[in-house]
Point group: C2
Chain length 327, copies 2
Protein backbone atom coordinates (compact mmCIF):
# COMPACT_ATOMS: atom_id res chain seq x y z
CA UNK A 1 0.00 0.00 0.00
CA UNK A 2 1.60 3.29 -0.99
CA UNK A 3 1.34 6.60 0.79
CA UNK A 4 -1.39 7.99 -1.41
CA UNK A 5 -3.81 5.12 -0.99
CA UNK A 6 -3.00 5.15 2.70
CA UNK A 7 -4.04 8.76 2.89
CA UNK A 8 -7.16 8.00 0.86
CA UNK A 9 -8.12 5.32 3.34
CA UNK A 10 -7.72 7.66 6.28
CA UNK A 11 -9.72 10.24 4.32
CA UNK A 12 -12.53 7.71 3.93
CA UNK A 13 -12.37 6.88 7.62
CA UNK A 14 -12.61 10.57 8.45
CA UNK A 15 -15.71 11.02 6.28
CA UNK A 16 -17.28 7.97 7.90
CA UNK A 17 -16.58 9.36 11.36
CA UNK A 18 -18.02 12.73 10.43
CA UNK A 19 -21.12 11.24 8.86
CA UNK A 20 -21.70 9.13 11.94
CA UNK A 21 -21.16 12.18 14.20
CA UNK A 22 -23.77 14.27 12.39
CA UNK A 23 -26.18 11.37 11.86
CA UNK A 24 -26.20 10.58 15.55
CA UNK A 25 -26.33 14.19 16.80
CA UNK A 26 -29.60 15.47 18.27
CA UNK A 27 -31.28 17.80 15.74
CA UNK A 28 -30.17 21.43 15.95
CA UNK A 29 -32.87 23.67 17.41
CA UNK A 30 -33.37 26.92 15.49
CA UNK A 31 -31.36 25.59 12.52
CA UNK A 32 -33.55 27.33 9.89
CA UNK A 33 -33.55 30.55 11.93
CA UNK A 34 -29.74 30.54 12.17
CA UNK A 35 -29.43 29.88 8.42
CA UNK A 36 -31.73 32.79 7.65
CA UNK A 37 -29.78 35.17 9.91
CA UNK A 38 -26.48 34.06 8.38
CA UNK A 39 -27.74 34.58 4.85
CA UNK A 40 -28.99 38.06 5.71
CA UNK A 41 -25.77 39.01 7.53
CA UNK A 42 -23.41 37.74 4.85
CA UNK A 43 -25.54 39.26 2.09
CA UNK A 44 -25.54 42.65 3.75
CA UNK A 45 -21.81 42.59 4.48
CA UNK A 46 -20.76 41.36 1.06
CA UNK A 47 -20.55 44.86 -0.33
CA UNK A 48 -17.31 46.62 0.46
CA UNK A 49 -17.60 49.05 3.34
CA UNK A 50 -14.39 50.71 2.12
CA UNK A 51 -11.16 50.76 4.12
CA UNK A 52 -8.52 48.03 4.10
CA UNK A 53 -10.96 45.30 5.11
CA UNK A 54 -13.39 45.90 2.24
CA UNK A 55 -16.04 43.20 2.51
CA UNK A 56 -14.13 40.86 4.78
CA UNK A 57 -16.08 38.69 7.19
CA UNK A 58 -14.53 36.68 10.01
CA UNK A 59 -16.16 33.91 12.01
CA UNK A 60 -14.72 34.04 15.54
CA UNK A 61 -15.47 30.98 17.68
CA UNK A 62 -15.20 31.41 21.43
CA UNK A 63 -15.62 29.52 24.73
CA UNK A 64 -15.66 25.80 25.44
CA UNK A 65 -18.01 23.09 24.17
CA UNK A 66 -19.76 20.65 26.50
CA UNK A 67 -19.98 16.89 25.99
CA UNK A 68 -23.18 15.44 27.51
CA UNK A 69 -22.73 12.14 29.36
CA UNK A 70 -26.45 11.34 29.51
CA UNK A 71 -29.23 12.04 27.00
CA UNK A 72 -31.40 13.75 29.57
CA UNK A 73 -28.34 15.68 30.43
CA UNK A 74 -27.48 16.04 34.08
CA UNK A 75 -23.72 15.57 33.79
CA UNK A 76 -21.37 16.72 31.08
CA UNK A 77 -17.69 17.26 30.42
CA UNK A 78 -16.75 20.87 29.87
CA UNK A 79 -13.66 22.62 28.55
CA UNK A 80 -12.41 25.51 30.63
CA UNK A 81 -12.58 28.74 28.65
CA UNK A 82 -13.68 32.19 29.77
CA UNK A 83 -14.14 33.30 26.16
CA UNK A 84 -11.88 36.27 26.87
CA UNK A 85 -9.68 35.65 23.81
CA UNK A 86 -12.62 35.41 21.42
CA UNK A 87 -14.35 38.49 22.84
CA UNK A 88 -11.19 40.63 22.73
CA UNK A 89 -10.34 39.43 19.22
CA UNK A 90 -13.84 40.30 18.02
CA UNK A 91 -13.35 43.88 19.21
CA UNK A 92 -10.06 44.20 17.30
CA UNK A 93 -11.51 42.63 14.13
CA UNK A 94 -14.39 45.13 14.25
CA UNK A 95 -11.86 47.95 14.71
CA UNK A 96 -9.97 46.67 11.67
CA UNK A 97 -13.17 46.94 9.61
CA UNK A 98 -14.22 43.28 9.52
CA UNK A 99 -17.79 42.11 10.01
CA UNK A 100 -17.83 39.41 12.68
CA UNK A 101 -19.90 36.27 13.20
CA UNK A 102 -19.31 35.56 16.90
CA UNK A 103 -20.06 31.88 17.56
CA UNK A 104 -19.88 31.83 21.35
CA UNK A 105 -20.55 29.54 24.28
CA UNK A 106 -23.63 30.74 26.17
CA UNK A 107 -22.71 32.80 29.20
CA UNK A 108 -19.05 33.39 28.33
CA UNK A 109 -17.32 36.76 27.89
CA UNK A 110 -18.96 39.10 25.34
CA UNK A 111 -17.22 41.71 23.16
CA UNK A 112 -16.66 45.08 24.91
CA UNK A 113 -17.57 43.53 28.26
CA UNK A 114 -14.14 42.29 29.33
CA UNK A 115 -13.55 44.98 31.96
CA UNK A 116 -16.82 44.43 33.75
CA UNK A 117 -17.00 42.61 37.10
CA UNK A 118 -18.35 39.03 37.19
CA UNK A 119 -21.93 40.04 37.95
CA UNK A 120 -22.24 43.48 36.33
CA UNK A 121 -25.91 44.03 37.09
CA UNK A 122 -25.52 43.57 40.84
CA UNK A 123 -22.10 45.17 41.10
CA UNK A 124 -22.35 48.16 38.75
CA UNK A 125 -25.83 49.50 39.48
CA UNK A 126 -27.79 50.86 42.41
CA UNK A 127 -31.29 52.12 43.09
CA UNK A 128 -31.33 55.82 43.97
CA UNK A 129 -33.38 57.44 46.73
CA UNK A 130 -35.86 58.44 44.03
CA UNK A 131 -36.11 54.71 43.16
CA UNK A 132 -34.34 55.06 39.84
CA UNK A 133 -31.87 52.44 38.65
CA UNK A 134 -28.54 54.15 38.06
CA UNK A 135 -24.99 53.11 37.30
CA UNK A 136 -22.56 53.45 40.20
CA UNK A 137 -20.09 56.30 39.65
CA UNK A 138 -17.11 53.92 40.04
CA UNK A 139 -18.20 51.77 37.09
CA UNK A 140 -19.72 54.42 34.88
CA UNK A 141 -17.05 54.44 32.16
CA UNK A 142 -16.73 50.66 31.64
CA UNK A 143 -20.49 50.22 31.64
CA UNK A 144 -21.02 53.03 29.13
CA UNK A 145 -18.35 51.58 26.86
CA UNK A 146 -19.72 48.04 27.13
CA UNK A 147 -23.31 48.91 26.34
CA UNK A 148 -22.56 51.68 23.84
CA UNK A 149 -19.98 49.92 21.67
CA UNK A 150 -21.68 46.54 21.89
CA UNK A 151 -25.10 47.86 20.88
CA UNK A 152 -23.58 49.98 18.11
CA UNK A 153 -21.84 46.97 16.53
CA UNK A 154 -25.00 44.84 16.68
CA UNK A 155 -27.33 47.59 15.52
CA UNK A 156 -25.09 48.59 12.62
CA UNK A 157 -25.24 44.98 11.48
CA UNK A 158 -21.49 44.39 11.85
CA UNK A 159 -21.70 41.83 14.64
CA UNK A 160 -23.85 38.68 14.55
CA UNK A 161 -23.82 36.67 17.77
CA UNK A 162 -24.80 32.97 17.75
CA UNK A 163 -24.67 31.00 21.01
CA UNK A 164 -23.91 27.28 21.49
CA UNK A 165 -23.53 24.92 24.44
CA UNK A 166 -22.80 21.32 23.35
CA UNK A 167 -20.19 20.04 20.89
CA UNK A 168 -23.12 18.86 18.74
CA UNK A 169 -24.53 22.39 18.47
CA UNK A 170 -21.09 23.90 17.91
CA UNK A 171 -20.16 21.66 14.98
CA UNK A 172 -23.60 21.79 13.41
CA UNK A 173 -23.60 25.60 13.46
CA UNK A 174 -19.97 25.77 12.29
CA UNK A 175 -20.99 23.68 9.29
CA UNK A 176 -23.85 26.08 8.53
CA UNK A 177 -21.50 29.07 8.76
CA UNK A 178 -18.84 27.34 6.66
CA UNK A 179 -21.26 26.55 3.89
CA UNK A 180 -22.83 30.03 4.02
CA UNK A 181 -19.37 31.57 3.67
CA UNK A 182 -18.42 29.40 0.68
CA UNK A 183 -19.32 32.10 -1.84
CA UNK A 184 -17.46 34.74 0.10
CA UNK A 185 -14.20 33.37 -1.27
CA UNK A 186 -10.89 34.59 0.07
CA UNK A 187 -12.49 37.48 1.96
CA UNK A 188 -13.85 34.99 4.49
CA UNK A 189 -11.80 34.13 7.56
CA UNK A 190 -12.23 31.51 10.29
CA UNK A 191 -10.60 32.33 13.63
CA UNK A 192 -11.24 29.20 15.67
CA UNK A 193 -10.51 30.20 19.25
CA UNK A 194 -13.19 27.99 20.86
CA UNK A 195 -11.99 25.19 23.13
CA UNK A 196 -13.57 22.22 21.37
CA UNK A 197 -13.62 18.88 23.12
CA UNK A 198 -11.31 16.24 21.63
CA UNK A 199 -13.55 13.46 22.94
CA UNK A 200 -17.27 12.83 23.04
CA UNK A 201 -19.89 10.21 23.79
CA UNK A 202 -21.84 9.33 20.62
CA UNK A 203 -25.51 10.13 21.15
CA UNK A 204 -26.50 6.57 20.21
CA UNK A 205 -24.32 4.94 22.84
CA UNK A 206 -25.35 7.42 25.52
CA UNK A 207 -27.52 6.27 28.39
CA UNK A 208 -31.01 7.75 28.54
CA UNK A 209 -31.13 8.37 32.28
CA UNK A 210 -28.85 9.81 34.91
CA UNK A 211 -25.92 7.50 35.65
CA UNK A 212 -26.49 5.80 39.00
CA UNK A 213 -23.85 6.01 41.69
CA UNK A 214 -24.98 2.99 43.66
CA UNK A 215 -21.85 0.92 43.56
CA UNK A 216 -18.19 1.30 42.87
CA UNK A 217 -16.24 3.62 40.62
CA UNK A 218 -17.49 5.07 37.36
CA UNK A 219 -15.69 3.92 34.23
CA UNK A 220 -16.26 5.97 31.12
CA UNK A 221 -15.08 5.57 27.57
CA UNK A 222 -15.10 8.60 25.31
CA UNK A 223 -14.29 8.38 21.62
CA UNK A 224 -12.29 10.93 19.68
CA UNK A 225 -14.31 13.71 18.11
CA UNK A 226 -13.84 13.71 14.33
CA UNK A 227 -11.32 16.27 13.07
CA UNK A 228 -13.73 18.76 11.55
CA UNK A 229 -11.01 21.28 10.72
CA UNK A 230 -10.02 19.10 7.75
CA UNK A 231 -13.56 19.16 6.41
CA UNK A 232 -13.98 22.88 7.01
CA UNK A 233 -10.85 23.52 4.93
CA UNK A 234 -11.59 20.95 2.23
CA UNK A 235 -15.34 21.04 1.78
CA UNK A 236 -17.26 23.61 3.75
CA UNK A 237 -15.24 26.75 2.96
CA UNK A 238 -12.20 25.75 0.90
CA UNK A 239 -11.15 29.30 -0.05
CA UNK A 240 -11.49 30.90 3.41
CA UNK A 241 -8.40 31.94 5.39
CA UNK A 242 -8.28 29.57 8.37
CA UNK A 243 -6.64 30.06 11.75
CA UNK A 244 -6.87 27.52 14.53
CA UNK A 245 -5.57 27.55 18.10
CA UNK A 246 -3.46 25.11 20.08
CA UNK A 247 -3.52 25.37 23.85
CA UNK A 248 -1.24 23.25 26.01
CA UNK A 249 -0.21 23.37 29.64
CA UNK A 250 3.16 21.82 28.82
CA UNK A 251 5.42 24.25 26.93
CA UNK A 252 7.72 21.41 25.90
CA UNK A 253 5.26 19.96 23.42
CA UNK A 254 3.41 23.12 22.40
CA UNK A 255 5.23 24.11 19.20
CA UNK A 256 5.49 20.57 17.90
CA UNK A 257 1.75 20.11 18.37
CA UNK A 258 1.00 23.45 16.69
CA UNK A 259 3.17 22.45 13.73
CA UNK A 260 1.40 19.12 13.48
CA UNK A 261 -2.03 20.81 13.50
CA UNK A 262 -0.92 23.25 10.79
CA UNK A 263 0.04 20.43 8.43
CA UNK A 264 -2.63 17.93 9.35
CA UNK A 265 -5.55 20.31 8.90
CA UNK A 266 -3.94 22.47 6.24
CA UNK A 267 -4.46 25.66 8.29
CA UNK A 268 -3.05 28.99 7.13
CA UNK A 269 -1.84 29.72 10.66
CA UNK A 270 -1.99 28.13 14.10
CA UNK A 271 -1.87 30.32 17.20
CA UNK A 272 0.06 28.43 19.89
CA UNK A 273 -0.54 29.38 23.50
CA UNK A 274 0.31 28.06 26.91
CA UNK A 275 -2.30 28.09 29.67
CA UNK A 276 -0.35 30.16 32.18
CA UNK A 277 1.08 32.79 29.83
CA UNK A 278 -1.70 32.97 27.24
CA UNK A 279 -2.59 36.56 28.06
CA UNK A 280 1.01 37.71 27.70
CA UNK A 281 2.30 35.92 24.63
CA UNK A 282 1.22 33.72 21.74
CA UNK A 283 3.21 32.28 18.86
CA UNK A 284 1.80 32.43 15.36
CA UNK A 285 2.96 29.34 13.47
CA UNK A 286 2.75 29.35 9.66
CA UNK A 287 4.33 27.03 7.12
CA UNK A 288 7.47 29.12 6.92
CA UNK A 289 7.80 31.01 10.19
CA UNK A 290 7.08 31.20 13.89
CA UNK A 291 6.33 34.71 15.09
CA UNK A 292 6.17 35.55 18.79
CA UNK A 293 3.47 38.12 19.57
CA UNK A 294 3.58 39.80 22.98
CA UNK A 295 1.37 42.36 24.58
CA UNK A 296 2.88 45.76 25.36
CA UNK A 297 4.42 46.34 28.76
CA UNK A 298 2.45 49.52 29.33
CA UNK A 299 -1.23 49.70 30.08
CA UNK A 300 -1.63 52.09 27.11
CA UNK A 301 -4.78 51.03 25.33
CA UNK A 302 -3.11 50.38 21.99
CA UNK A 303 -1.25 47.22 22.97
CA UNK A 304 -2.41 46.31 26.48
CA UNK A 305 -4.06 43.17 25.05
CA UNK A 306 -2.04 40.54 23.22
CA UNK A 307 -5.02 40.35 20.83
CA UNK A 308 -4.19 43.85 19.51
CA UNK A 309 -0.86 42.94 17.83
CA UNK A 310 -2.17 39.43 17.09
CA UNK A 311 -5.15 40.62 15.04
CA UNK A 312 -2.95 43.24 13.33
CA UNK A 313 -0.59 40.49 12.20
CA UNK A 314 -3.38 38.18 11.06
CA UNK A 315 -5.11 40.95 9.11
CA UNK A 316 -1.82 41.53 7.24
CA UNK A 317 -1.52 37.81 6.51
CA UNK A 318 -5.13 37.75 5.34
CA UNK A 319 -4.41 40.73 3.02
CA UNK A 320 -1.42 38.90 1.55
CA UNK A 321 -3.60 35.80 1.06
CA UNK A 322 -6.27 37.81 -0.77
CA UNK A 323 -3.54 39.58 -2.78
CA UNK A 324 -2.06 36.22 -3.87
CA UNK A 325 -5.19 35.35 -5.79
CA UNK A 326 -5.06 38.65 -7.70
CA UNK A 327 -1.53 38.11 -8.98
Amino acid sequence: MDASSNSETSQDTLYDEIKSFFDSAPPLKDGPDISRKLKEFIGKNSQSKGGVAGSRIVCVTSGGTTVPLERRCVRYIDNFSSGHRGAASTEYFLKAGYSVIFLNRRGTCQPFCRSLPQDPLLECFEVSKELNVQVRQSHSEVVKRAIGEHCAAVEEGLLLKIPFTTIFEYLQILQLIGMSMKDHGRCAMFYLAAAVSDFYVPWQSMVEHKIQSASGPLDMRLVQAPKMLSVLRKNWAPTAFCISFKLETDSEILLAKADMALKRYNMHAVVANELLTRKEEVIVVTSNEKISVRRGKTEAEADADVESPLIKLLVEKHSAYIGDSDS
Copy 2:
Protein backbone atom coordinates in the same frame (compact mmCIF):
# COMPACT_ATOMS: atom_id res chain seq x y z
CA MET B 1 -19.86 -10.37 62.30
CA ASP B 2 -23.07 -8.81 63.61
CA ALA B 3 -24.93 -5.84 62.21
CA SER B 4 -23.51 -3.33 64.64
CA SER B 5 -19.85 -4.07 63.99
CA ASN B 6 -20.68 -4.12 60.31
CA SER B 7 -22.05 -0.62 60.56
CA GLU B 8 -19.02 0.46 62.60
CA THR B 9 -16.75 -0.83 59.88
CA SER B 10 -18.59 1.10 57.18
CA GLN B 11 -18.44 4.16 59.47
CA ASP B 12 -14.66 3.76 59.70
CA THR B 13 -14.43 3.39 55.94
CA LEU B 14 -16.45 6.57 55.52
CA TYR B 15 -14.15 8.55 57.82
CA ASP B 16 -11.12 7.20 55.97
CA GLU B 17 -12.64 8.26 52.66
CA ILE B 18 -13.44 11.71 53.96
CA LYS B 19 -10.01 12.18 55.48
CA SER B 20 -8.40 11.17 52.23
CA PHE B 21 -10.70 13.54 50.29
CA PHE B 22 -9.78 16.55 52.40
CA ASP B 23 -6.10 15.61 52.71
CA SER B 24 -5.74 15.36 48.98
CA ALA B 25 -7.80 18.45 48.10
CA PRO B 26 -5.97 21.57 46.90
CA PRO B 27 -5.91 24.17 49.70
CA LEU B 28 -8.98 26.42 49.83
CA LYS B 29 -8.18 29.96 48.70
CA ASP B 30 -9.63 32.64 51.00
CA GLY B 31 -10.36 30.07 53.74
CA PRO B 32 -9.56 32.49 56.60
CA ASP B 33 -11.51 35.28 54.91
CA ILE B 34 -14.59 33.05 54.52
CA SER B 35 -14.34 31.94 58.17
CA ARG B 36 -14.18 35.55 59.33
CA LYS B 37 -17.23 36.54 57.26
CA LEU B 38 -19.18 33.53 58.55
CA LYS B 39 -18.36 34.34 62.17
CA GLU B 40 -19.44 37.94 61.71
CA PHE B 41 -22.65 36.99 59.88
CA ILE B 42 -23.73 34.30 62.33
CA GLY B 43 -22.83 36.47 65.31
CA LYS B 44 -24.88 39.37 64.00
CA ASN B 45 -27.88 37.18 63.13
CA SER B 46 -27.90 35.20 66.38
CA GLN B 47 -30.09 37.76 68.10
CA SER B 48 -33.76 37.32 67.36
CA LYS B 49 -35.06 39.75 64.78
CA GLY B 50 -38.60 39.04 66.03
CA GLY B 51 -41.29 37.38 63.93
CA VAL B 52 -41.78 33.63 63.56
CA ALA B 53 -38.25 33.00 62.38
CA GLY B 54 -36.56 34.61 65.39
CA SER B 55 -32.84 34.06 64.95
CA ARG B 56 -33.05 31.27 62.38
CA ILE B 57 -30.27 30.95 59.82
CA VAL B 58 -30.41 28.74 56.75
CA CYS B 59 -27.51 27.70 54.54
CA VAL B 60 -28.86 27.32 51.00
CA THR B 61 -26.51 25.56 48.58
CA SER B 62 -27.11 26.13 44.88
CA GLY B 63 -25.76 25.22 41.44
CA GLY B 64 -23.53 22.34 40.32
CA THR B 65 -20.00 21.42 41.40
CA THR B 66 -17.23 20.75 38.90
CA VAL B 67 -14.82 17.83 39.02
CA PRO B 68 -11.45 18.74 37.46
CA LEU B 69 -9.91 16.03 35.26
CA GLU B 70 -6.44 17.60 35.15
CA ARG B 71 -4.53 19.54 37.81
CA ARG B 72 -3.87 22.45 35.50
CA CYS B 73 -7.52 22.30 34.76
CA VAL B 74 -8.53 22.45 31.12
CA ARG B 75 -11.28 19.83 31.25
CA TYR B 76 -13.77 19.06 33.98
CA ILE B 77 -17.02 17.23 34.56
CA ASP B 78 -19.91 19.50 35.46
CA ASN B 79 -23.38 18.92 36.84
CA PHE B 80 -26.16 20.72 35.04
CA SER B 81 -27.88 23.21 37.34
CA SER B 82 -29.05 26.72 36.63
CA GLY B 83 -29.23 27.52 40.34
CA HIS B 84 -32.83 28.62 39.87
CA ARG B 85 -34.15 26.50 42.76
CA GLY B 86 -31.55 27.79 45.22
CA ALA B 87 -32.03 31.43 44.19
CA ALA B 88 -35.84 31.26 44.41
CA SER B 89 -35.71 29.44 47.75
CA THR B 90 -33.35 32.07 49.15
CA GLU B 91 -35.92 34.77 48.33
CA TYR B 92 -38.69 32.88 50.14
CA PHE B 93 -36.49 32.15 53.17
CA LEU B 94 -35.66 35.86 53.42
CA LYS B 95 -39.36 36.68 53.17
CA ALA B 96 -40.04 34.20 55.98
CA GLY B 97 -37.57 36.09 58.19
CA TYR B 98 -34.55 33.76 57.92
CA SER B 99 -31.00 35.00 57.43
CA VAL B 100 -29.44 33.16 54.50
CA ILE B 101 -25.93 31.92 53.74
CA PHE B 102 -26.11 31.40 49.97
CA LEU B 103 -23.34 28.97 48.96
CA ASN B 104 -23.59 29.20 45.18
CA ARG B 105 -21.78 28.08 42.06
CA ARG B 106 -20.06 31.05 40.42
CA GLY B 107 -22.12 32.51 37.59
CA THR B 108 -25.41 30.72 38.37
CA CYS B 109 -28.77 32.33 39.10
CA GLN B 110 -28.76 34.91 41.93
CA PRO B 111 -31.62 35.74 44.30
CA PHE B 112 -34.13 38.29 42.91
CA CYS B 113 -32.58 37.94 39.43
CA ARG B 114 -34.65 35.04 38.11
CA SER B 115 -36.80 37.11 35.77
CA LEU B 116 -33.90 38.80 34.06
CA PRO B 117 -32.81 37.79 30.55
CA GLN B 118 -29.60 35.75 30.13
CA ASP B 119 -27.33 38.75 29.60
CA PRO B 120 -29.07 41.51 31.59
CA LEU B 121 -26.45 44.19 31.01
CA LEU B 122 -26.65 44.00 27.23
CA GLU B 123 -30.35 43.29 27.01
CA CYS B 124 -31.83 45.59 29.68
CA PHE B 125 -29.83 48.79 29.22
CA GLU B 126 -29.15 51.33 26.50
CA VAL B 127 -27.12 54.48 26.08
CA SER B 128 -29.30 57.55 25.59
CA LYS B 129 -28.71 60.35 23.09
CA GLU B 130 -27.20 62.35 25.96
CA LEU B 131 -24.78 59.41 26.44
CA ASN B 132 -26.29 58.30 29.72
CA VAL B 133 -26.68 54.62 30.55
CA GLN B 134 -30.35 53.95 31.19
CA VAL B 135 -32.57 50.94 31.72
CA ARG B 136 -34.85 50.08 28.79
CA GLN B 137 -38.49 50.83 29.54
CA SER B 138 -39.50 47.23 28.80
CA HIS B 139 -37.25 45.84 31.55
CA SER B 140 -37.51 48.63 34.08
CA GLU B 141 -39.57 46.78 36.71
CA VAL B 142 -37.60 43.50 36.81
CA VAL B 143 -34.31 45.39 36.90
CA LYS B 144 -35.44 47.68 39.70
CA ARG B 145 -36.66 44.70 41.73
CA ALA B 146 -33.48 42.69 41.11
CA ILE B 147 -31.08 45.43 42.12
CA GLY B 148 -33.25 46.94 44.86
CA GLU B 149 -34.21 43.79 46.75
CA HIS B 150 -30.86 42.09 46.25
CA CYS B 151 -28.85 45.08 47.49
CA ALA B 152 -31.23 45.59 50.43
CA ALA B 153 -30.80 41.97 51.61
CA VAL B 154 -27.00 42.15 51.35
CA GLU B 155 -26.73 45.62 52.88
CA GLU B 156 -29.02 44.80 55.80
CA GLY B 157 -26.74 41.87 56.58
CA LEU B 158 -29.42 39.22 55.99
CA LEU B 159 -27.81 37.59 52.96
CA LEU B 160 -24.22 36.34 52.79
CA LYS B 161 -23.15 35.05 49.38
CA ILE B 162 -20.18 32.66 49.06
CA PRO B 163 -19.22 31.34 45.61
CA PHE B 164 -17.64 27.98 44.72
CA THR B 165 -16.65 26.18 41.53
CA THR B 166 -15.09 22.76 42.21
CA ILE B 167 -16.34 19.94 44.42
CA PHE B 168 -13.23 20.49 46.54
CA GLU B 169 -14.17 24.11 47.24
CA TYR B 170 -17.82 23.22 47.83
CA LEU B 171 -17.16 20.57 50.47
CA GLN B 172 -14.39 22.55 52.17
CA ILE B 173 -16.66 25.59 52.51
CA LEU B 174 -19.65 23.46 53.57
CA GLN B 175 -17.49 22.08 56.37
CA LEU B 176 -16.58 25.62 57.47
CA ILE B 177 -20.25 26.63 57.47
CA GLY B 178 -21.31 23.46 59.29
CA MET B 179 -18.79 23.97 62.04
CA SER B 180 -19.59 27.70 62.33
CA MET B 181 -23.29 26.85 62.72
CA LYS B 182 -22.67 24.24 65.44
CA ASP B 183 -23.46 26.66 68.25
CA HIS B 184 -26.61 27.87 66.53
CA GLY B 185 -28.37 24.68 67.62
CA ARG B 186 -31.80 23.86 66.29
CA CYS B 187 -32.28 27.32 64.76
CA ALA B 188 -29.78 26.38 62.04
CA MET B 189 -31.01 24.82 58.83
CA PHE B 190 -29.21 23.27 55.86
CA TYR B 191 -31.11 23.32 52.57
CA LEU B 192 -28.82 21.42 50.25
CA ALA B 193 -30.10 22.15 46.75
CA ALA B 194 -26.69 22.15 45.03
CA ALA B 195 -26.07 19.44 42.43
CA VAL B 196 -22.98 17.81 43.92
CA SER B 197 -21.01 15.34 41.85
CA ASP B 198 -21.26 11.72 42.98
CA PHE B 199 -17.87 10.94 41.47
CA TYR B 200 -14.50 12.67 41.44
CA VAL B 201 -10.86 12.21 40.50
CA PRO B 202 -8.67 12.33 43.61
CA TRP B 203 -6.21 15.21 43.31
CA GLN B 204 -3.26 12.87 43.91
CA SER B 205 -4.13 10.55 41.05
CA MET B 206 -4.87 13.41 38.66
CA VAL B 207 -2.54 14.08 35.77
CA GLU B 208 -0.60 17.34 35.88
CA HIS B 209 -1.00 18.29 32.23
CA LYS B 210 -3.78 18.37 29.70
CA ILE B 211 -4.80 14.87 28.62
CA GLN B 212 -3.46 14.20 25.12
CA SER B 213 -5.80 13.10 22.38
CA ALA B 214 -3.15 11.55 20.15
CA SER B 215 -4.45 8.04 19.93
CA GLY B 216 -7.59 6.09 20.55
CA PRO B 217 -10.47 6.55 22.96
CA LEU B 218 -10.22 8.11 26.39
CA ASP B 219 -10.86 5.80 29.32
CA MET B 220 -11.53 7.44 32.63
CA ARG B 221 -12.11 6.05 36.08
CA LEU B 222 -13.81 8.24 38.66
CA VAL B 223 -14.21 7.20 42.27
CA GLN B 224 -17.27 7.84 44.39
CA ALA B 225 -17.24 11.08 46.32
CA PRO B 226 -17.51 10.42 50.06
CA LYS B 227 -21.02 10.84 51.48
CA MET B 228 -20.50 14.09 53.33
CA LEU B 229 -24.16 14.40 54.34
CA SER B 230 -23.55 11.77 57.02
CA VAL B 231 -20.71 13.77 58.49
CA LEU B 232 -22.60 17.05 58.29
CA ARG B 233 -25.42 15.48 60.33
CA LYS B 234 -23.21 13.59 62.75
CA ASN B 235 -20.25 15.83 63.36
CA TRP B 236 -20.28 19.23 61.75
CA ALA B 237 -23.74 20.47 62.78
CA PRO B 238 -25.55 17.65 64.61
CA THR B 239 -28.45 19.78 65.88
CA ALA B 240 -29.24 21.60 62.62
CA PHE B 241 -32.40 20.83 60.63
CA CYS B 242 -31.19 19.18 57.42
CA ILE B 243 -32.90 18.95 54.05
CA SER B 244 -31.30 17.35 51.03
CA PHE B 245 -32.47 16.98 47.44
CA LYS B 246 -32.79 14.00 45.14
CA LEU B 247 -33.01 14.63 41.42
CA GLU B 248 -33.66 11.81 38.98
CA THR B 249 -34.69 11.68 35.34
CA ASP B 250 -36.47 8.37 35.87
CA SER B 251 -39.66 8.77 37.93
CA GLU B 252 -39.80 5.02 38.57
CA ILE B 253 -36.87 5.06 40.97
CA LEU B 254 -37.22 8.59 42.38
CA LEU B 255 -39.16 7.98 45.60
CA ALA B 256 -37.26 4.85 46.51
CA LYS B 257 -33.98 6.75 46.13
CA ALA B 258 -35.29 9.68 48.19
CA ASP B 259 -36.35 7.28 50.95
CA MET B 260 -32.96 5.66 50.91
CA ALA B 261 -31.19 9.03 51.19
CA LEU B 262 -33.45 10.03 54.10
CA LYS B 263 -32.47 6.96 56.11
CA ARG B 264 -28.89 6.63 55.03
CA TYR B 265 -27.92 10.21 55.85
CA ASN B 266 -30.42 10.71 58.64
CA MET B 267 -31.94 13.79 56.96
CA HIS B 268 -35.03 15.50 58.40
CA ALA B 269 -36.54 15.72 54.92
CA VAL B 270 -35.58 14.91 51.34
CA VAL B 271 -37.05 16.92 48.48
CA ALA B 272 -37.58 14.55 45.55
CA ASN B 273 -37.78 16.04 42.09
CA GLU B 274 -37.79 14.84 38.52
CA LEU B 275 -35.79 16.69 35.88
CA LEU B 276 -38.69 17.44 33.52
CA THR B 277 -41.31 18.49 36.09
CA ARG B 278 -39.08 19.99 38.77
CA LYS B 279 -40.52 23.48 38.36
CA GLU B 280 -44.09 22.22 38.71
CA GLU B 281 -43.98 19.72 41.54
CA VAL B 282 -41.71 18.29 44.21
CA ILE B 283 -42.38 15.66 46.86
CA VAL B 284 -41.21 16.24 50.40
CA VAL B 285 -40.25 12.90 51.91
CA THR B 286 -39.97 12.61 55.71
CA SER B 287 -39.80 9.55 57.96
CA ASN B 288 -43.59 9.35 58.26
CA GLU B 289 -45.06 11.01 55.17
CA LYS B 290 -44.69 11.97 51.54
CA ILE B 291 -46.19 15.37 50.72
CA SER B 292 -46.69 16.51 47.15
CA VAL B 293 -46.06 20.24 46.74
CA ARG B 294 -47.24 21.89 43.51
CA ARG B 295 -47.03 25.43 42.29
CA GLY B 296 -50.27 27.35 41.77
CA LYS B 297 -51.94 27.27 38.39
CA THR B 298 -52.28 31.04 38.23
CA GLU B 299 -49.43 33.43 37.65
CA ALA B 300 -50.40 35.27 40.85
CA GLU B 301 -47.16 36.08 42.63
CA ALA B 302 -48.05 34.22 45.83
CA ASP B 303 -47.74 30.71 44.47
CA ALA B 304 -46.40 31.02 40.93
CA ASP B 305 -43.15 29.33 42.08
CA VAL B 306 -43.17 25.85 43.56
CA GLU B 307 -40.59 27.19 46.04
CA SER B 308 -43.26 29.35 47.67
CA PRO B 309 -45.38 26.49 49.14
CA LEU B 310 -42.22 24.37 49.56
CA ILE B 311 -40.47 26.87 51.83
CA LYS B 312 -43.72 27.50 53.71
CA LEU B 313 -43.97 23.77 54.47
CA LEU B 314 -40.32 23.45 55.46
CA VAL B 315 -40.50 26.49 57.74
CA GLU B 316 -43.43 24.81 59.54
CA LYS B 317 -41.46 21.57 59.86
CA HIS B 318 -38.49 23.54 61.17
CA SER B 319 -40.75 25.25 63.74
CA ALA B 320 -42.01 21.86 64.89
CA TYR B 321 -38.42 20.62 65.15
CA ILE B 322 -37.41 23.61 67.27
CA GLY B 323 -40.57 23.19 69.36
CA ASP B 324 -39.76 19.52 70.02
CA SER B 325 -36.67 20.45 71.99
CA ASP B 326 -38.66 22.83 74.20
CA SER B 327 -41.14 20.19 75.26
